[in-house]
Amino acid sequence: MIDAGLMLLDRQLIDADGMLAGKVDDLELTFPEGGGPPVVTAILAGPGALAGRLGGRLGHLVEVVAARLRHPEETPGRISFGLVKRIDSAVRLSAQRAELDTDRVESLVRDYVIRRIPGGDHAPE
């Protein structure tokens, strides 16, 4: 058994290549169809998920910003729990971060800012 707050929430997500891919901002719980206790079906990550944790005016502000950064019909960044490989001091995933829908803001910044500055695509020397 584990306590979600103590051992899962706010942990670092690491993708299949060892790249950092966000935090466990919240968990999605689903009630099974046949009844019984809820099951953890997904990790929610990104500002849309974080906003719910913060609550209050600040949480609302984060939510508004997050909503601008994604398609309005979509729920916050969701990573199916089936992609989790291992849980230790971080949560290790079996997918690459580019495949996750939590990677959108990072790729926006990468494509529109960082790649446009000379040297952005080269390792430091």
Binding site: L54, G55, G56, R57, L58
Partner: protein, 151 residues
């Protein structure tokens, strides 16, 4: 339901604002004016002593001219800022007027001498600096006495 998030940033900004705003304010009594004058004298003494130390470095050919004129410019700017801050305070009574006159003489003497030193340093005339700086010893001593007398 939950407590609002600690207002850390506004609190810090407010704190800085309070500190900055606390620098000046209206002066209503001789006592307050006197302590401001003493503080001014102490600050000016610090600037004067700094100038004397720079002259000591200059006479020993211990520093580049650029550095010397740089430090003397800073010291001169500081002396004039000290004086203008002090002069901006209205003396509340007759005794304060007297105090102001006494201290202003010293501040003027210091400012004139430091300005002359600054000019000499800019021209590279380091030989003349000990002679130009001669009055500073007396000014410094008097500022010190003034600060002690009115503490």
């Amino acid at each position: 339901m939950r407590k609002p998030l600690l207002p850390v940033v506004p609190a810090l900004l407010l704190l800085i604002a309070v500190v900055l705003a606390g620098c000046t304010g209206p002066v209503r009594s001789f006592g307050v004016y006197e302590s401001k004058a003493a503080r001014t004298a102490k600050e000016e003494a610090s600037a004067v002593e700094n100038a004397r130390l720079v002259v000591q470095a200059a006479t020993g050919h211990k520093a580049f001219g650029r550095y010397l004129s740089q430090v003397l410019t800073e010291t001169g700017d500081e002396a004039s800022s000290i004086q203008s801050t002090f002069d901006a305070i209205q003396p509340p009574d007759g005794r304060s007027d007297q105090l102001q006159a006494e201290l202003d003489d010293l501040l003027d003497a210091a400012a004139t001498t430091i300005a002359a030193l600054r000019t000499a340093a800019r021209r590279g005339d380091f030989g003349a600096m000990p002679r130009l700086a001669a009055p500073l010893a007396g000014v410094s001593r008097k500022l010190d006495e003034f600060a002690r007398a009115h503490q």
